[in-house]
Amino acid sequence: MLALFRRELQIGVRTGNGALTGVLFFLAVVAVIPFGVGPDLNLLARLGPAILWIGALLAGLLGLERLFQADREDGSLDLMLLADSRHMMALTVFVKCCAHWTVNVLPLVVVTPLLGLFMNVEPAGILAATATLAVGTPAITFIGAVGAALAVALPRGGLLVSVLVLPLTIPVLIFGVAAARGAVADPDPFLPPFLILAALMLFFAVIGPLAASLALRWGGD
């Protein structure tokens, strides 16, 4: 399993464009918002965490459809399915998700503090937004894996994956933004929504790979 993780990382790093595309998209979303909303610094600071979350969510969906498609095209997926009795397919999917997150989504979390500055979010808010993204974005990848597995045989499944996955990510978004805002807006609590977010992530870490592995097994051709 470690070998699989290492291989996925190597491929991700050598191909290299996945992370960059995501970060640039994230940057673009966050950078144009101030122009759209106008030069009201207080308004920006209030919207900040939400914008960061929406940007990261959309950027995190980019490239998800390639999660299994590349392996299917070169035949690796067949061998992974055959190895089911040695490495349970759900575990293989889980490891692939973790690697995908490390290569494509972790960079988004890393640039969040910088983009938070663009949005005039105060330091505590930036910290909270980064922490919630670090905990919440894996859930998006795990949910996305199900969509990617369902659309694996479709030639242009990217849009379909996003449409399938987006509604399921709404709870993650709600609690992520609630926690990030709770850190700065005084009466709102930070910890309860943050813990619910963590619980959601753990929940999807189990359900997502299981569902995705079933979809891959029965969607074979």
């Binding site: 035949g75 055959l82 009795s85």
Partner: protein, 204 residues
Amino acid sequence: MMRLAAEGLGGERGGETVFSGISFTLGEGEALTVTGPNGAGKSTLLRVICGLLPALEGKVQFFGGGEAFPDVASACHYLGHRNAMKAELGVEENLRFWQEFMGEAHLPPFEALEMVGLGDIGHLPFGYLSTGQRRRASIARLLVSYRPVWLLDEPTSGLDKASEAQFADLMGVHLEDGGMIVAATHLPLGLKGAQELRMGEAAG
């Protein structure tokens, strides 16, 4: 004693039955070549055997595999049309990954590459290789991990004469070691004493 047995196997493709009632038994050191025109269901048969496609009817069983190979899928090497190698990674890196992932290590990747005559280009990215070399590299994959059953789908497509002979030798060694081979092919593979299964005529 290991044994691979198929009983009354039927398969479908896109909702249409392509073959049915196929039975065979392979013991240690035995091979089966599956021949027939395009579309007769040779590839489908191989995928049904290893369980990548559900069987419409009948079943495949693997006996005597012990703990290492409890079922058919775990006892099979599958060499399909696609090579299952990443173009971004080196040939040897690809092989090392499959060895670690599939377990039951057999030959080290370097030696496996020597066996298929690619010993000197193990460091190149897989994407740089020619079609025939890619095929040979994925044949080397059969050697890095041990599996008693080799399922080969047009294994020699893209290979030149010398490599074909080399591959025939490799298959011969595998059979001598008590392995089994099921190969779908148009070309003679140089397997001596192999059973032959003709597809597409009875159903025709």
